[in-house]
């Protein structure tokens, strides 16, 4: 029987390569230690990401960025947190009070829960669910409920528009995102996050280039980063859903935003970049590779943010339904065919074929799908 209590949560037979390492004591110490580790990781990474983004984006924008507080401005996020926490906590008069107060919590909790299944090292996760990736897909979209609650309850037209946008956007991008993940699962033969890492003799970014592009774009929309940051489009709807929030409640939304970025970076690292695997370092230092990859993915996200303008809502929807959805279906078809018909083909041949196919399909779609000028009604 599959028991939640104890490390035998995983049926060891799920994947031959999957062997959970031995932890020194029983379930409870594992649980408590990991919860502490996860919270430290979560808070530390959020601050690190804020600092990293501010420094990197200012390099893109030919400025220096925060460099006053602490060496190289390293304490800037700490100062930001202190500043934000000592702000007055305002509850406007005409808000729907309960929903308004609940929204930040609803948004922030799922963003923490994602990290429960992330393997930081071989087997080092809070719980290695055998449906890990499904759990991630399920949990990561719950944050949106919090954002919609905030947008609706604030009794502000800007935040209402923002909430409506985020519903439309996230619902649309959920589908290509899940389909792209299925491509990975077909190759790995397991849904467990650690199992997926262990199954990667070649990082799946090489085996699934198209899937990676689709997943990356869809998750950008999912976490509302540029060019899909319609949620908080500053030039249009000022700050979007969190316009009426201040103090700690705003801090929670801010944290959610970065936690989701961390979540997406870690998931991309895990399922496409072979997670904790890496050359040169002994296996005990898998966490180093893991962090390097996470920051590399986040640097890519920052690069996109620093470069691209924002799409319009109808273009965002059009992109999801006309471009990403068919491409992800084709990707799944190709992947399935490769696994079924040529199971013994060398992986490097598949890598070559998939890159060529990905290039062709993207080129084809960008010719088909000139959004320029055509108007899509939502």
């Amino acid at each position: 029987m599959m028991s939640i209590f104890g490390r035998s949560v995983l049926p060891p037979a799920v994947h031959p390569a999957m062997l959970a390492p031995d932890w020194p004591s029983g379930f409870w110490s594992h649980l408590i230690i990991f919860i502490v580790i996860l919270f430290v990781f979560y808070i530390f990474m959020a601050m690190a990401f804020i600092y990293f983004e501010r420094r990197v984006i200012s390099r893109f924008q030919i400025r220096i960025g925060p460099n006053r507080i602490g060496p190289f401005g390293l304490l800037q996020p700490v100062a930001d947190v202190i500043k934000i926490l000592i702000k007055e906590d305002i509850v406007p008069n005409n808000v729907d009070k309960w929903i308004y107060l609940l929204a930040p919590a609803v948004a922030v909790v799922p963003s923490i829960l994602i990290f429960a299944v992330i393997p930081f090292q071989n087997g080092a996760s809070l719980i290695d669910l055998n449906i890990g990736i499904l759990y991630v897909v399920a949990i990561s979209s719950i944050s949106v409920v919090g954002l919609v609650m905030a947008g609706w309850s604030s009794n502000n037209k800007y935040s209402l528009i923002s909430a409506m946008r985020v519903i439309a956007q996230v619902v649309s991008y959920e589908i290509p995102m899940a389909l792209a993940i299925i491509g990975v699962v077909v190759f790995s033969g397991t849904l467990s996050m650690n199992g997926i890492v262990q199954a990667q003799t070649v990082p799946y970014i090489l085996l699934q280039p198209l899937g990676f592009v689709i997943y990356f774009l869809a998750s950008m929309a999912e976490i509302n980063r540029t060019p899909f940051d319609l949620l908080e489009a500053e030039g249009e709807i000022v700050a979007g859903f969190n316009i009426e929030y201040s103090g700690f409640k705003f801090a929670l939304f801010y944290l959610t935003e970065y936690a989701e970025a961390i979540g997406v970076s870690t998931i991309i690292t895990t399922i496409y970049l072979a997670g904790w695997k890496g050359p040169f370092l002994p296996p005990a230092f898998g966490i180093v590779w893991f962090l390097i990859k996470v920051f590399a993915v986040f640097a890519l996200i920052i690069w996109v943010r620093a470069t691209l303008p924002r799409l319009r809502i109808d273009q965002v929807m059009g992109f999801a339904w006309k471009c990403l959805l068919p491409l992800s279906l084709i990707n799944l078809l190709i992947t399935g065919a490769q696994v079924v018909f040529w199971p013994n083909l060398s992986q490097w041949v598949i890598v070559g074929v998939n890159f060529v196919l990905a290039g062709l399909l993207i080129a084809l779609w960008s010719r088909f799908f000139k959004l320029t000028g055509d108007k899509v009604e939502v």
């Binding site: 924008q61 000022v238 691209l308 303008p309 799409l311 319009r312 320029t372």
Partner: protein, 367 residues
């Protein structure tokens, strides 16, 4: 089932990131689609036209700096051109050339800001804007060199300019105009082939040729719609008839065309500056103008091609040292009259792009 829907009113401004100052747009929205818009302005009204009546002619130059604070130099020029026309003053050649150089630099600087803010409104998180600032800084440094000011120059005087250029000015200017085309190309490369930018600007906010003329729009807004009208060519003032330059025009009159026209005009301005530097004569920089200027009774309208369009000053003199009446034709305000036409039926995001492409300066709209 038929759901009951209703339109709602959304206030954008007077404090809004995209309204460039204190301008307010009262949208009537059906979901995201704009049904109606009511522009509200006047939040920055300082009564400059009335204040000008209480001061002497040279003193009024200071006010013109505060109209379009992103293009103070050309405001100065428009005013002094009008006064010189009123009083019949001949300006020395060197002063005219200096004015041309300053005005064209101002045009580049203003267009850089216009393009940068347009892209910012489209959602390119500050990056293009900060790159535009980098070039604008160099132009401001040149102005600093000439008149000691970076924003409100008060450089042009009735009958000339306030001071001659220092000797390090021309080499610095040469370096700038040598490097500028490369930088402008850089922006073009960054943005020209960017599908998102094209999607957001092409066929958005199309202003037809006839409509542009009917709204009496001017500047890049008019030229973007394909009307070849530039005061520098149509009614040459200063020494513009001695230079060789093109008037770039758009085809469709959408946001993209207005953006293109601005980029092209920057290239043309560099061209003009090069010719002006080559032709720059030696000599006086001020005409003989009596200290207390009392133009004869009469009226005059002087206009120039400002960065944002035709900037004109209509001045009535009653023979005293103060203007009897001073009226400004602010291109920002008059271009803005097309806003309602352009915005209705688009989405909020487009409205901001269109608004950015008109390139207003609230200091000039409200005066």
């Amino acid at each position: 089932m038929v759901l009951k829907t209703e339109t709602f009113i959304l206030n954008a401004g007077p404090q809004h990131p995209s309204t460039h100052g204190v301008f307010r747009m009262r949208f009537t929205l059906d979901g995201e689609v704009i049904q109606d818009v009511e522009p509200v302005f006047g939040y920055l009204h300082r009564g400059i036209e009335k204040l000008a009546e209480g001061l002497t002619y040279p003193q009024d130059i200071v006010f013109t700096d505060r109209l379009d604070y992103l293009a103070s130099m050309t405001n100065n020029q428009a005013y002094v051109v009008a006064v010189e026309k009123l009083a019949g003053i001949e300006v020395p050649e060197r002063a005219e050339y200096l004015r041309v150089i300053m005005a064209e630099l101002m045009r580049i600087s203003s267009h850089l800001m216009a393009v940068g803010f347009l892209l910012n409104d489209i959602g390119a998180f500050l990056t293009p804007l900060l790159y535009m600032y980098r070039e604008r800084e160099k132009i401001l440094d040149l102005y600093d060199m000439v008149c000691g000011q970076r924003l409100t120059y008060n450089y042009m005087r009735i009958g000339g300019v306030s001071q001659d250029i220092p000797e390090e000015f021309l080499p610095a200017l040469q370096r700038l105009i040598d490097s500028l085309p490369r930088f402008i190309k850089e922006y073009e490369q960054l943005l020209e082939f960017n599908e998102i930018l094209l999607m957001r600007t092409k066929n958005v906010g199309t202003l037809s040729k006839e409509a542009a003329i009917n709204f009496s729009a001017a500047g890049p807004v008019l030229r973007g719609s394909g009307v070849k009208w530039d005061i520098r060519k149509a009614d040459p003032y200063s020494v513009y008839n001695r230079f060789n330059f093109e008037v770039p025009v758009g085809v469709k009159g959408d946001v993209y065309d207005r953006y293109r026209v601005r980029i092209e005009e920057m290239h043309q301005s560099i061209n003009i500056i090069k010719q002006a530097v080559a032709q720059l004569p030696q000599g006086e920089i001020m005409a003989k103008v009596s200290r207390v200027l009392k133009p004869a009774k009469g009226e005059a309208y002087g206009h120039i091609e400002g960065p944002k369009g035709e900037l004109g000053f209509y001045i009535v003199s009653d023979g005293s040292a103060n203007p009897y009446r001073l009226h400004i034709r602010p291109p920002s305000l008059i271009n803005l009259t097309a806003l309602r036409e352009l915005v209705i039926g688009t989405k909020i995001a487009d409205a901001m792009a269109i608004f950015g492409s008109i390139d207003i300066c609230v200091g000039e709209v409200d005066r």
